[in-house]
Amino acid sequence: MICDTPSTTALELSLSEISALTTRAIRGAGRDWGAAEEGANAACWLARAGLDWASLLLAVLDGPGKGTDCPLRIGMKIADHALLPDSLSRPETSCHKLTAPGFLLPFAAQVADRTATAVVLDWDNTRAALVPGCPPAVSGTTATRPRADVTITSAPAELFERADWPDHHHGLVSAAQYARLTLLVAAFTVPSSTLSQAGAGANEEDND
């Protein structure tokens, strides 16, 4: 739980709060638990990298989530297949009309870590290089925009400079974004029944 009352201003969330909020919001949006866990992990990775996790996640959740245009779904697939012969990053593959391509970065980072190679994503005028263990090196913007075709390639990690992770994560979420995410969370919760309340605390008062 983040806050009891609706916020009218932007909030600065901890990574722990981002994880809890996004897990529940993704599940509330109708995705399965696997997607919720992976999506939340991706949101935290983006936050640690200083990127706008909330905009990217909301763009992902605006989509149906079933097709090949969903970066969460495609991301899980490329991470799972990282060490298999049909890996999407070897030698080069394309994802067509992907929603919010920036959300693919954390999954490409998993591929980079597992294969000990750099993974490079290109879309529109943006290029993002994922070097094992490093934050993303982004030229251009990861901001959400209409769908984009994304090309994924791998390259020797030595070709890229290694960078340090930022000291502080990007915890900022606007009031509007927060409201949308908490609305999704509400779809995942259950009203407490009288039955479940019984025995969950003192039935009388606690003035003992």
């Binding site: 901890s14 992990n41 991470a79 990282a82 009203p191 407490s192 969950a200 008062e205």
Partner: protein
């Protein structure tokens, strides 16, 4: 961190208990605090590093409201508990998470707060969940008075008399915390931001620090109020009575899912404790200091069991078992134990396995660890966990390998018939009102479609069945494409393959599952005493009862 490189007792491996024995709820629900408990680790560090204590601010009025700051200063950093005392009407006093006001509220500040920091905290901390704190804070908590004891102590001290010792012993605390939030909750510092500090690397050390300083505050508050009321007639609490007071805690279901959602952490807690037991069992002799230390630990356990009360039926039976078992152990240790055998501690352990109920066996474990600090205390360094390192699923693992994991780690779950109502009677969910975990009755309440994935046994059995027609050499990545719903249990299985104590090996949605068994295990690792269930899903406990106060640490024993 890994314990792989920290094993100076390789012969202990022959004496280890297996997870099929250890990870059963019936046994976990008999857990006792040990010297590896987080509270004990915290106190030993404070003593060993000679941390200094002071109280730089005390602005509490005659009604007991205001603000105070308690500061601990270690070799590198200092931490301050900022305490706010409130005037709470009796009708507003509730330990439930649904409460909105408390007798006292607290934040643990990273360093020494400025007046501006205190102003910021004063605007937020008393509101608890409705407020926000910052990465400068490590925890947020609140406490309510045990009104009967609190008022009695103030009244007696104001008259220049000591309170009734029996009443103090019966309750054991002046205030009880009703929530201690850490790890990034409500804007506080994330665990990752502080886990690299040696003093906070063991689990829940910031929370322990907060509660320990809260204990000092509760005593200072009654003495202050007594002085305000009685003036020169008032006296201070006698040291022996003061020492007997801890901080109470009311804890509910919210604590249980934590243990299930952190399998690597649970593994590391269990593994450290089990390795400690194995090391002791592997010892070839019983030295005089160890024997005396063991007898002393038994004596203290008997005294604790004598004072430990509960009205809950399950706990009453356990307490009777515990008292009987401790008497049996003492008698055996004094009159029958052959301490000249090849492995006397192992012999004692095997005797306990045959002679004692589970409650007594786990009490014996705690007493056996007690005199072996030099042998086992280093294992405390192995009880944290880098959980991120185990998040990614290995999609290249083959179905054959996954089947082998399920067979070796989840055999207890694979044959359960989850279509039978009593095997799937419950479901875990998050409540709409306070976003807190709850346990519902699947066949009597709505909401099961929003179930939390804590039905580990059922998921494992479902995955096992789904794999039945798949070839052994198929990578699991292909299964996930067809069955994304198995992603959470597949991740758990891959974690369990490398962490044998990662899973509670019982059905967590069964009709007869007792959440308090999970709570007791976790609270024992915290170092909690006087576990007192008030239902099958909430308990009261005590922390730091009998422990030295911050101002007593200079004279305190080293082996805390």
């Amino acid at each position: 961190m890994s314990c792989a490189g920290l094993n100076p007792v390789p012969q202990a491996s022959a004496f280890r208990r297996g997870p099929d024995e250890v990870m059963r709820l019936a046994r976990m629900g008999c857990s006792h605090p040990t010297r590896l408990s987080f509270l004990r680790q915290f106190l030993r560090r404070i003593k060993a590093e000679n941390w200094q204590f002071d109280r730089p601010l005390w602005q509490i009025d005659a009604q007991g409201t205001g603000c105070a700051v308690y500061r601990l200063t270690g070799p590198v950093r200092s931490y301050s508990l900022v305490a706010f005392a409130h005037d709470l009407p009796a009708e507003a006093r509730s330990d439930r998470v649904i409460a909105t006001a408390w007798d006292a509220t607290f934040a643990l500040f990273d360093g020494t707060p400025t007046p501006e920091d205190i102003d910021r905290l004063a605007a937020n901390v008393p509101r608890q969940e409705a407020g926000r704190i910052s990465p400068r804070e490590l925890s947020l908590s609140r406490a309510n008075r045990s009104v009967r004891v609190f008022d009695h102590v103030v009244a007696r001290l104001a008259e220049g008399r000591q309170p009734d010792a029996a009443m103090l012993l019966e309750t054991g605390y002046l205030m009880r915390t009703t929530a201690v939030y850490g790890s990034g909750k409500f804007g506080a510092a994330d665990r990752a931001a502080i886990a690299g500090r040696p003093e906070l690397s063991a689990p829940f050390q910031a929370e322990m620090m907060s509660v320990w300083l809260t204990r000092a505050f509760t005593v200072d508050l009654v003495e202050h109020l007594a002085h305000m009321r009685g003036g020169d007639r008032a006296t201070r609490l006698a040291p022996e009575l003061r020492r007997g007071l801890g901080v109470g805690n009311s804890t509910g279901l919210g604590m249980a899912p934590f243990v299930i959602r952190h399998p690597v952490l649970l593994n590391n807690w269990m593994l450290a404790r089990e390795e400690a037991l194995a090391r002791v069992r592997s010892q070839p002799c019983v030295g005089r200091p160890e024997y005396d230390g063991f007898l002393n630990a038994l004596h203290l356990a008997q005294e604790n069991a004598r004072l430990w009360h509960s009205a809950h039926g399950v706990q009453l039976v356990k307490l009777a078992e515990l008292r009987d078992s401790l008497a049996q152990i003492m008698d055996h240790a004094l009159h029958a134990w052959d301490r000249q055998s090849a492995h006397p501690w192992d012999d004692l352990w095997h005797w306990g396995q045959d002679a004692l109920q589970l409650e007594g066996q786990e009490a014996l474990l705690a007493a056996m660890l007690e005199p072996h600090g030099a042998l086992i205390d280093g294992l405390g360094d192995c009880m944290d966990a880098d959980e991120d390192a185990f998040f990614a699923i290995d999609g290249a693992m083959t179905i054959g390998e996954l089947r082998a994991i399920l067979t070796s780690r989840y055999a207890w779950a694979l044959d359960v018939d989850f279509t039978a109502r009593h095997h799937s009677a419950r479901f875990w969910y998050v409540s709409e009102d306070k976003l807190e975990p709850r346990l519902g009755e699947r066949y009597h309440e709505p909401g099961a479609s929003r179930e939390l994935p804590l039905d580990v046994a059922r998921q494992a059995a479902g995955l096992w069945a789904a794999l039945s027609d798949e070839p052994d050499d198929l990578p699991v990545a292909h299964v996930l494409l067809a069955h994304p719903e198995f992603r959470p249990i597949l991740r758990r299985a891959q974690i369990a393959a490398r962490h044998p104590f990662a899973e509670i090996r019982d059905n967590l949605i069964a009709a007869d599952m007792l959440p308090i068994d999970i709570l007791r295990c976790k609270l024992a690792f915290f170092g909690a005493s006087r576990f007192d269930p008030r239902s099958d899903r909430w308990v009261r406990i005590s922390l730091f009862q009998g422990a030295p106060y911050p101002d007593e640490m200079a004279e305190a024993a080293h082996d805390l």
